[in-house]
């Protein structure tokens, strides 16, 4: 019955003009593809931005690792702090003053 319901939900979306994925393992609108990459590729590498102009005037710029936003974690005074961005003493307005142990 669940399969039927998912298929019907897809049908509704097609009526509305929106192509929609058939749910994968119970996750509506989500599909999984498998495309392994080189395992030795450095995930922290940042390259130069390259821009490509299409005949219709569209420009697509490959960011090549620029603008990636890292979430970092820091254990300080026995408790875990997280920050999206750099973690240092300047972590943020609250956390840099914050301590569980006084």
């Amino acid at each position: 019955m669940r399969m039927v319901g998912l298929a019907l939900s897809g049908a509704l979306a097609l009526v509305a003009g929106n192509p929609v994925a058939v749910a994968d393992e119970g996750f509506a609108g989500v599909r999984v593809e498998y495309a392994p990459k080189r395992s030795d590729a450095d995930p922290m590498a940042v390259g130069a931005v390259t821009e490509k102009r299409m005949p219709d005037g569209t420009v697509v710029a490959a960011l090549n690792g620029n603008a990636m936003a890292p979430i970092q974690a820091l254990v300080r005074d026995g408790r875990l702090l997280t920050s999206c961005g750099e973690v240092a003493d300047r972590f943020d307005f609250r956390a840099r003053r914050r301590s569980e142990e006084q």
Partner: protein, 482 residues
């Protein structure tokens, strides 16, 4: 036949319909990361994956499902994802990272010319796949599962938003939701240190980022002006209409403490809140006399304890705390211990006075048994309260009309005085209360909320299916965009 159509219609109504297709492109090699064949962890009951890799993948799928239900896009949104070794040390590590792979401008149907859009949004607006590949990249640190981080033995792969897992696990779901938001366009694409755009075109984000002191949007600034503005707290704000119309629906007023019976007359203080304990509603907290705790022992230490630090239980004057607000000094033991002692003695709230000059202490800790509000005040204000005759000074925490994390009706953006790369400018301000998904600190307790993140994406041009509560106009929403 009519019955069939009625049944069909009923099923269509009952089934949530995603309006965007999210494709997770699993780039891990066989047997590794998202394909790890090791047996599933005990949290399988709330996840359903039968292997470790499947459990990890299911968290990504659940996050993608949440976004798929919220967004409308005629073009599939492709997320390149893997679990990989990222820098990690016992003291500090990267949990993960995410962002768009491309930006595009001057595409067909672009609402603004000469403006760089994150690729997933550009695809949705152009109604075609401009890059013919993945749009977003997410890397998650597999080393967290190898115990590389002190105090944490691994990721928590539960899918229940109400259950962030045990204290020694870090919930993966809010991290993935946060990173997908960056990939969808919740980022400046500006180097906050130099003010330069990463691409050769002004970014869409710069149309909405406004410096109230400079009186300019980032779009109209030089790079040097943007670099200065990136550190210009509290004046850096977001001027998007959708975000600012929702402020009152999401945020609480700034917390204040109104006190009476002290030298100098009535006072309204700025206070800090603890990460634990009871919250203060918009209508205000308990009003009661303030009693300075006397625990009878000044423990040895460096610095030494005080008779009024609230670390020893029971208090000598515990019988006077019933229904009162307890006042203690910072120091000697944890904030949680002080709060627990005061609560046991019947106090209705706890004030913690700093033991050094400066701002009120902001207090960390986890304690589900603490139900009284715990507030920090400055050392000077603590001393002022102590000088008042016992039982005369009274206090009441309240909420200011100004909403937390806002200024002049606009949502403030994160702009600390020291640039934090990847953090500055690209997040809502960390003083927003309650916590939002796109603050720089990702709270494990966020669960699966998307909150005002949806409204910001709507400002950028995304068609958002999730309906918010009725919007309220304000001054910031009236500000013309460049």
């Amino acid at each position: 036949m009519a019955r069939f159509y009625l049944l069909l219609a009923a099923m269509l109504v009952a089934t949530p319909v995603p309006a965007a297709e999210m494709v997770i492109v699993n780039t891990n090699a066989g047997g590794a990361g998202l394909n790890d064949p090791s047996p599933a962890r005990p949290e399988a009951g709330v996840n359903g994956g039968t292997t470790l890799g499947a459990q990890r993948l299911r968290v990504l799928q659940r996050a993608a499902e949440i976004w798929a239900a919220a967004l409308d896009s005629p073009v599939p949104i492709r997320i390149e994802a893997r679990m990989v070794e990222l820098p990690c040390s016992p003291a500090s590590n990267i949990l993960g990272q995410g962002g768009p792979l491309y930006m595009a401008w001057n595409f067909s149907n672009a609402p603004r010319r000469d403006t760089a859009y994150p690729i997933a949004l550009a695809n949705a607006l152009a109604r075609r796949d401009l890059d013919n590949g993945a749009d977003i990249r997410i890397d998650l640190n597999i080393s967290v599962d190898n115990g590389c981080m002190d105090g944490t033995v691994g990721w928590w792969y539960g899918l229940d938003p109400a259950d962030p897992g045990p204290a020694d696990r870090y919930p993966l779901l809010p991290v993935v939701l946060h990173e997908i938001a960056h990939g969808l366009g919740f980022l400046s694409s500006v180097n906050p240190g130099t003010g330069e755009y990463y691409v050769s075109m002004p970014t869409l984000w710069s149309n909405y980022l406004y410096d109230q002191q400079a009186g300019k949007h980032w779009r109209n600034m030089t790079a040097a002006e943007r670099a200065a503005s990136a550190r210009n707290d509290p004046y850096l704000v977001w001027t998007g209409d959708n975000v600012n119309r929702q402020l009152s629906n999401w945020l609480l007023g700034i917390l204040r403490l109104d006190i009476e019976g002290v030298r100098g007359g009535e006072r309204r203080l700025s206070v800090a809140t603890a990460e634990f304990g009871g919250s203060i509603p918009s209508s205000g907290g308990p009003a009661a006399a303030v009693v300075t705790v006397n625990d009878g022992i000044a423990a040895a230490g460096d610095p030494p304890g005080t008779f009024t630090d609230g670390c020893e239980y029971p208090f000598l004057n515990g019988n006077r705390l019933q229904g009162r607000i307890a006042l203690v000094d910072r120091g000697s033991c944890t904030f949680v211990e002080k709060a627990r002692n005061a609560q046991e003695q019947g106090a209705v709230a706890l004030l913690v006075a700093n033991n050094v000059e400066g701002t009120p202490p902001t207090m960390g800790g986890v304690a589900s048994d603490i139900t009284i509000p715990v507030l920090g005040i400055t050392r000077e204000e603590g001393a002022r309260l102590k000088r008042s005759p016992a039982g005369v000074a009274s206090a009441q925490p309240s909420r200011d009309e100004t909403l937390s994390g806002t200024r002049a009706g606009c949502m403030r953006m994160y702009a600390p005085a020291s640039i934090s790369s990847g953090s500055s400018v690209t997040h809502f301000h960390s003083e927003a209360t309650p916590s939002l998904l796109m603050e720089p600190g990702v709270s494990p307790g966020l669960g699966d909320q998307l909150d005002m993140t949806l409204d910001l994406l709507r400002d950028l041009g995304w068609v958002i299916r999730a309906g918010g509560p009725p919007a309220t106009a304000n001054d910031c929403a009236q500000r013309p965009l460049p």
